[in-house]
Subunit: 223 residues, 2 copies
């Protein structure tokens, strides 16, 4: 099994997270690095979606991944083994989210000069990560079919801050009472500008649409 | 559509949550009321499981439900319509968990003298609710098959504090790579004493086992 770098993230001391996030974004712009903050509930398929997406993009742009988890390093290892890109594990030590300063602690351990795109896989949680700007250029979230189409009603902030909502596990649509049109309606109620992309990370269906969205965003950022 | 009482929960001012939780448990013991704290990820099937469980128990014991959500009152209404038991909605106003004092704010709006069992459906989140003792007599959680059997590795605290882990959505086992034996092994790694109960809340399969567990716990508490 591969080894990955594990970073123990410390609590932030900086009080103004919004300012720290803006500063981090400015720094990323200068360095020409696009940071994507990927969020979801536990078990929505963030890691599998990333593997599929990275394998479609890694010949076009240089990618690095930061996997945040309370404990364990299984995700960072999985990403490294399945894609070959640089992948580090961030341990939050029980903390339920990452803010900008914590994200920067991670970025300090990534080879930034060799990356066009850094993806932060945030802690699996629809509540707290939505409250803290990580300094990312764009926010993405994954909602999986088994979770139900009513989630935008229950986790309003998360859906309102995401630029793109990936709806994963569409292969099991026949086995769940999931109304795709209602889901899109609820998402747009929270954020009319959100891009909604249905995919199945397991089979790869639809992943090229998300990969293309990401590629466009990275190109625009680096212009 | 039915109307339910909606309580806007305020932030706690009490600093020592563990003491507040112990005091609340003492009060519940005196009153002969059993409080169950039910936790899970978003979309694991807490509300459906509760409806099925309550309908199996409501002729044997008196039940009331507190539904915590950041926003919306859909769950409390669903419970009331499907079971007829007293059901109130707690709005956390963005807060990601409930502590003992917040739980007590809810309990003050429940007819305690007419209840043997009060069920608190906590905010859908595997991280923060695990860190705060609500004053409940027992903690239960639901892990659903689509989330994957590796969740005890990633959310150690949640699994370590739960007396019972209900594994929901076993009807879709054929469509997911979910290893039940591995899952049980990981759960018992976190908490060797945890009771594991596989169910399908949609069809009702296995729910009687959870209902019986709960009935026994309530009887023991009221002895």
């Amino acid at each position: 099994m591969e080894n990955v770098k594990i970073i123990e993230i410390k609590k932030s001391v900086f009080e103004n997270n919004d300012r720290a996030a803006d500063e981090l974004r400015g720094e990323l712009k200068t360095k020409g690095v696009f940071l994507l903050n990927l969020m979801s509930s536990p078990g929505s398929g963030k890691t599998t979606t990333l593997i599929q997406t990275i394998n479609r993009l890694k010949d076009k742009i240089r990618i690095a991944v930061m996997e945040a988890d309370i404990d364990s390093d299984v995700d960072a290892i999985k990403i490294k083994e399945a894609t070959g890109v640089e992948s580090i594990q961030l341990h939050t030590g029980g903390m339920c989210h990452l803010d900008a300063e914590m994200t920067e602690q991670g970025l300090n351990n990534v080879s930034m000069e060799q990356a066009d795109l850094v993806i932060l896989e945030n802690v699996g949680n629809l509540v707290c990560p939505a409250e803290f700007d990580t300094g990312a250029v764009k926010n993405a979230m994954i909602l999986s079919v088994p979770e139900g189409h009513d989630k935008p009603l229950k986790y309003p902030l998360m859906f309102s801050i995401c630029d793109v909502v990936v709806i994963n596990k569409i292969d099991v649509l026949p086995y769940f009472d999931f109304d795709m049109e209602k889901c899109k309606e609820y998402i747009h109620m929270r954020n009319p500008k959100a891009t909604v992309i249905p995919i199945c990370a397991k089979t790869g269906e639809g992943v090229e649409v998300f990969a293309e969205w990401l590629l466009n965003e990275v190109s625009e950022w680096k212009r």
